[in-house]
């Protein structure tokens, strides 16, 4: 089953190109140009991984992260930032981000991080389904 990735960045050239690369490698990819757009896309269909830019004109990536993590069955979030600040990184990780990466991050590593994140989210979902099935069986 293909990994579903949502790219959230106001740098359109970046997200579109990355989307092409990732879809050629078998991912299902969509892009969002702002925090609000991302939340709309997340509400519409389920996603495994969100690549989230920290600095965006409309909303701070960290607050979008908060909203995403508050969703039921949330995707894993990998934060991407133009400048790495220790305090922001800490805030991101403690806010539930799967990784906090500095742009430009090598694409092969980024790809493997996405796979790791997807595995993590699928593992969690399986656990949830099993426990639900167990509960169903008990009932």
């Amino acid at each position: 089953m293909s990994i579903r990735v949502l790219l959230v960045d106001d740098e359109v050239s970046f997200s579109q190109t990355l989307a092409k690369i990732l879809s050629r490698r078998g991912f299902i990819v969509a892009t969002a140009g702002s925090g609000e757009e991302a939340l709309v896309a997340l509400a519409r269909e389920p996603w495994d991984v969100v690549l989230l830019d920290v600095k965006m004109p409309d909303r701070d990536g960290l607050s979008v992260l908060g909203d995403i993590r508050a969703m039921p069955d949330p995707p894993e979030v990998i934060m991407l930032t133009g400048h790495l600040s220790r305090s922001e990184e800490e805030a991101g990780l403690s806010g539930g981000a799967f990784a906090y990466l500095l742009k430009p991050h090598p694409i092969p590593d980024l790809e493997s991080r996405i796979r790791d994140a997807a595995q993590s989210v699928r593992h969690r979902r399986e656990k949830t389904e099993n426990s639900l099935a167990r509960k169903g069986g008990e009932l």
């Binding site: 740098e11 050239s13 970046f14 190109t17 990355l18 092409k20 690369i21 050629r24 490698r25 600095k55 004109p57 409309d58 701070d60 991407l80 930032t81 133009g82 400048h83 600040s85 305090s87 500095l102 742009k103 430009p104 991050h105 090598p106 694409i107």
Partner: protein
């Protein structure tokens, strides 16, 4: 809604003016009491001295009057005694010469002596004039002495044609009488009256009721001449007053003698009377002046030391400001480099994905026409991103060129335009509209590096205040005034509460979270603006934003 505004004006310190004002104040405090004391002393001293001098003169004249009256009374008594000691015939026939000699022995008190019978006939005369055989029946003194028994005359000229006065005594002998008469030596009497010469102009003399001199005076007034003394009305005791005679002011002490009715006068020019007082006053003034001079020197030394101390403190302050500036510069550079890193890293990330995309496409063989076009498109996009980076680095270079820290004329509008261009990268990230409203303002004098630091701090603060709100707006405005250039950095952030307005220029004062602000930015701005001879002010309406206004003196156009 209340609008708060605080102004932190800074001007270059004028130590010279400070010195002058300090000296003036210290002098005022020290010299004013000195002058008050000196004036009070003078008034007290003057009135005391005057009353003492006048009292002294009155006393002297009182004693003098007594001695003159005693002299005249004694002389009269002596003549009376002689007249009663000898019968007329004894005197006429030889004793008178002997008597004259006896009377002359102690002092030449009398000029001559004579015996006159009841008919006024001069029976016998001893003296320098040829008066024997004269008849005095018609003389005024003769009538008086016959009537009263003795008589002291005023000064008169008589037969001898020389002013003199006489003492005559009537002696009754049998049914008739005769008269013993002496002429008082007017030189002797004048010397007796004007015994002590007081000061340069003090003199004692006697005038009769008509104001004619009865004694010769120190300054050569002759007997019987009118004295011109203006106050001849009778008074009891001693009278002291100032009178003007011949255009000169005199202190006049007078007393009337009982017999004859002569006016004893002591007079001295006012200037002369108070000469010692004047000398004392001159000495006093000199001493006061010396005091004032001393106070002045001390005041100057004191003020000089204070100003020196202030200068040192200012120099230390300046050094501290310099250190603050350096620290603040590091902080500002840190803040800016974060924005720049973001701006460069974003295109780099795009370039990285594009080159990865190109590799992916080029890896398949053969390359389809569609992929070939895709590769060309990616390459064009790489070119775009490179151009974007170039814009940033060029802006940075322009910005960095202004590192000159030597003062020079600087046009603020172009400088601010360049700065805003660079800082817009940060503004864009923060979602803040950074706008300019720049006029063609005259140059100000300052180090470009310092000016840049002032405005970078203020613009960064404004961006901090409006970041992430979505509707944030910062306007950088320049305007020329009469003598200065005004730069407003206006934001629509949360504003500054009234109670914080006065402390925001203090070093290490910050409302930003720990690790976000050093609290140095505004303190540095304040210090730098002060150095440039300008002022920095802030006005804020809480909830609506804040405006920082920097006013810098414009460069004076020097005419060639």
């Amino acid at each position: 809604m209340s609008e708060g505004s605080v102004s932190q004006r800074a001007h270059p310190t004028d130590y010279r003016a400070m010195l002058v004002s300090l000296v003036r104040r210290v002098l005022l405090v020290s010299v004013l009491p000195l002058i008050v004391i000196a004036v009070a002393n003078f008034i007290l001293f003057y009135s005391l001295n005057r009353s003492i001098v006048l009292e002294q003169q009155a006393n002297l004249l009182r004693y003098h009057k007594e001695s003159i009256e005693a002299f005249l009374a004694n002389l009269t008594a002596e003549v009376t005694a002689l007249a009663h000691q000898y019968p007329r015939e004894e005197l006429v026939n030889g004793h008178l010469e002997r008597l004259f000699e006896v009377l002359q022995q102690s002092a030449k008190v009398i000029t001559d002596i004579g015996v006159i019978d009841a008919d006024g006939q001069h029976l016998k005369y001893v003296g320098p004039f040829d008066l024997a055989g004269r008849n005095y029946r018609e003389a005024e003194w003769f009538t008086e002495v016959v009537e009263r028994g003795y008589y002291i005359s005023d000064v008169f000229t008589g037969f001898r044609g020389v002013p003199h006065f006489i003492i005559a005594v009537k002696r009754s002998e049998g049914d008739s009488f005769w008269i013993l008469r002496i002429t008082v030596n007017t030189d002797y009497f004048s010397r007796l009256v004007d015994a002590a010469h007081v000061g340069r102009t003090g003199e004692t003399f006697i005038v009769n009721r008509e104001g004619r001199f009865q004694t010769k005076t120190r300054f050569g007034d002759r007997l019987l001449e009118p004295s011109g003394f203006p106050d001849l009305t009778y008074h009891d005791g001693i009278k002291v007053r100032t009178l003007r005679m011949g255009g000169v002011g005199y202190i006049c002490t007078t007393t009337w003698l009982s017999s004859p009715r002569w006016l004893l006068i002591f007079r001295q020019q006012v200037r002369d009377v108070f000469a010692p007082l004047r000398n004392a006053v001159v000495v006093g003034i000199l001493m006061s002046a010396a005091g004032v001079l001393g106070a002045g020197v001390l005041a100057f030394l004191f003020a000089h030391r204070q100003v020196q101390a202030l200068k040192r403190a200012d120099a230390e302050n300046e050094a501290l400001t310099q250190r603050l500036v350096a620290t603040g510069k590091t902080a500002a550079v840190g803040e800016m480099s974060a924005g720049l890193a973001h701006e460069i890293n974003n295109p780099l990330a795009t370039i990285d994905t594009l080159q990865t995309w190109i590799r992916d496409l080029a890896g398949s063989s053969p390359i389809s026409e569609e992929d070939r076009l895709e590769i060309l498109d990616a390459a064009t996009k790489i070119g775009d991103q490179v151009a974007r980076c170039k814009t940033i680095t060029q802006g940075l270079l322009k910005f960095a060129r202004r590192v000159d820290s030597s003062p020079q004329p600087v046009l603020l509008s172009p400088m601010l335009e360049e700065m805003v261009t660079v800082m817009r990268t940060r503004a864009r990230i923060e979602g803040v509209a950074l706008d300019t409203d720049l006029s063609d303002v005259p140059a100000v004098r300052g180090a470009p590096a310092h000016l840049q630091q002032i405005f970078m701090n203020l613009i960064n603060n404004a961006l901090d205040a409006t970041a992430g709100r979505g509707d944030g707006r910062v306007v950088v405005r320049t305007r020329a005034t009469d003598r200065a250039v005004r730069v407003d950095i206006e934001d629509n952030g949360p504003g500054i509460p009234q109670e914080l307005l006065s402390s925001i220029f203090l070093p290490f004062y910050t409302t930003k979270p720990v690790g976000k602000g050093t609290g140095l930015g505004l303190a540095i701005c304040y210090g730098l603006v002060q150095e440039l001879g300008g002022s920095i002010e802030v006005s804020s309406q809480p909830g609506k934003g804040a405006t920082f206004t920097v006013t810098l003196p414009r460069v004076v156009q020097e005419r060639a």
